[in-house]
């Protein structure tokens, strides 16, 4: 297998975008091609979850490759729920690592705000098991609520820890010009003050409004290439060192141990194995915090902290921007937004930006090794990526 490098990155603002889905996918691709100066693309991968269902656009990859005038290059769409982004990067990695392609463009996009909020909730709910979960009115936040309650009982995580994650991420997003939310919040405002119940109402007990990520539109792109091509661009050499993926049961109630996210554990393990380094060596991580509880749990399952102690590390400030292992410097899904198909790629965008040293105000000092975790469904399909700066 050859080495694969991330040579170009691009992203749109994550907000309500009044552009068609195809343009949301193409814009970051244009930015990425300008970034590395490479326009000769062998294959295009487009990550998207809702194109057919809410945007009335199927075959998105074919539309994108033409809109970018990259025809006759090959193009394929990748749909893997919220893990579509990192899944598409994995496919791109395979194409370059195997020697089949020299340069691939991996872009992801989602336009969830084309429909109203109730329909967007229903769209995401279709991820659940059709007979054992969906018919009961199960939505993704409700699965997270069920999970959080168990976690709180077993490990002593409290609403305050969840609020701390929300505040940390949303305040990190203040330094990210592409983030969805540019609103400072405080733990006092969302938990302590007498008006907290109105400011921060329950969405799915015990998860509250500020524990859930916003519904966003957005797109992101990463261009992967072989070492020869990467050297010619003159950009910092950031290698996609490891890729890992693992799955678990579809119905959340069938999980072996209801408080374990085995798919994260397995994917992270495979990813670190391939990369040749471990959780201790990672300087910066982007974890999938669609719900604040997930950042805590993923940080444990990925191996950064012992199981059941993620919230203690959060208390100690280890995961803040100034801490030992900054998690979600971009604001994570909570602050930056969560256009489902684009998230995995946006996480990779942030890590590459950090490892290049171009992250400006939110730069993590001396970031050499980065990690992302893209969580599909509710923990039944997880893809982890590991990046390393080589020069």
């Amino acid at each position: 297998m050859r080495d694969v490098y991330a040579i170009g990155i691009g992203i749109t603002s994550f907000t309500r975008l009044e552009y068609p889905l195809v343009e949301i996918a193409c814009y970051p691709a244009m930015m990425a091609m300008k970034d590395c100066g490479v326009r000769a693309i062998d294959h295009v991968y487009v990550a998207n979850m809702g194109g057919g269902r809410i945007n009335h656009q199927t075959g998105l990859a074919s539309a994108v490759v033409d809109s970018l005038s990259l025809t006759p290059a090959g193009a394929a769409g990748i749909e893997n729920g919220p893990a579509s982004g990192a899944s598409a990067i994995r496919e791109g990695f395979q194409a370059v690592a195997s020697g089949m392609c020299d340069v691939v463009l991996v872009t992801g996009a989602e336009r969830m705000r084309e429909v109203n909020n109730l329909d967007a909730t229903d769209f995401v709910a279709t991820l659940s098991h059709p007979l054992a979960e969906y018919v009961y009115g199960v939505t993704l936040p409700s699965l997270a609520g069920l999970f959080t309650k168990l976690y709180m009982q077993k490990y002593g995580v409290t609403a305050r820890h969840l609020a701390m994650v929300a505040v940390k991420n949303q305040n990190n997003a203040l330094r990210n010009e592409f983030a969805h939310l540019h609103q400072k919040i405080t733990v006092e405002g969302i938990l302590d003050s007498p008006e907290a119940m109105t400011n921060n109402p329950f969405v799915a007990e015990p998860l509250r409004f500020f524990d859930c990520c916003p519904v966003s539109d957005g797109g992101a792109c990463v261009i992967l290439a072989s070492k020869e091509v990467a050297k010619k661009t003159g950009k910092p050499m950031v290698r996609l060192a490891g890729v890992g993926q693992a799955t678990d049961t579809h119905a959340v109630h069938e999980r072996k141990e209801p408080t374990d996210l085995l798919a994260v554990r397995g994917a992270a393990k495979k990813c670190f194995q391939m990369a040749g380094f471990g959780p201790k060596d990672v300087n910066v991580a982007e974890l999938h915090d669609a719900f604040t509880i997930l950042e805590i749990v993923e940080s444990e399952e990925a191996g950064f902290f012992p199981k059941g102690e993620g919230h203690l590390a959060l208390e100690r400030g280890e995961t803040s921007l100034e801490g030992r292992l900054p998690i979600n410097p971009s604001g994570g899904l909570k602050g930056r937004g969560h256009p489902v198909g684009a998230t995995g790629i946006a996480q990779a965008y942030e890590i590459v930006l950090q490892l290049r040293g171009e992250a400006g105000e939110r730069q993590v000092k001396e970031a050499k090794k980065g990690f992302t975790c893209n969580f599909g469904g509710f923990g039944n399909n997880v893809v982890c990526l590991a990046f390393e700066r080589e020069d």
């Binding site: 309500r16 009044e18 552009y19 068609p20 343009e23 945007n55 009335h56 656009q57 705000r113 084309e114 429909v115 109203n116 909020n117 109730l118 939310l181 609103q183 400072k184 919040i185 405080t186 006092e188 405002g189 969302i190 003050s193 007498p194 008006e195 907290a196 119940m197 109105t198 400011n199 921060n200 109402p201 409004f209 500020f210």
Partner: protein
Amino acid sequence: MSVDLEKILRPIENPIPPFPAKHVTLASGEDMVIRQVTRDEIPDILVYVAPLLHVERDYYDVVAARLYGELLAYYRYRVQDEYVLVAQIDGEVAAVVNGRLLSPEVGMSYHTVALRRGLRIGAHSFAAKMEYHIDIMKQKEVLVVAESPIGFRRWMIEYKLEKRFDIPHELGGVPSWALTRELFDRARETLVVGRRPVPDKLLEKAKAGLLPPSDPPTPPEDLLAATRSRYDSTGTALMAQQWKQEGKV
């Protein structure tokens, strides 16, 4: 002579108890003051409502257009028994709510416009309005309608409003929903929050002036982008095409 004409055209001044100002702490940690405004403060508010007339998303344009008329009518004494409340953060106008009394027992809620989004400001302001009708003016029920789906979710669903479909609402004549005293009491704990009295310094700052909102909703930058979509959920496409044709863009 003109004085007599004006007397006929003006509404009868019924005494309405004033709204005692209250303050809430928002999710951002900031303090927001909700207070009633007098007629002479209305022109300042009109200036902030006017730019919303062309923001199509979430029906800001319809709401702003109707609200402008209601505020102007209040200012120039052409509407019966209306009141206007504003929510201010550090003097900046964050929301405007208004309504009127249909009869001593029944209130008619007009509009709720949030000029800063993401902090449940609209929710707090609407709750203050309902508190005014039911707790302070001691009315039996308030008739409510929603122009935007967000309003529908926040009011009809969250408060579980009763249908009063035989009564057409003044806003567009559509069937009304009602918030009765019983429903309000049930929702009291979780939806009606805020502390009184407002600390002097906060109230002074609020009364000192209605400052412009720092981050109000604006029309999209690229007006023609929506025309390239098959389905334009914002409604911008038609307006943008028309403006382009008329050379306004």
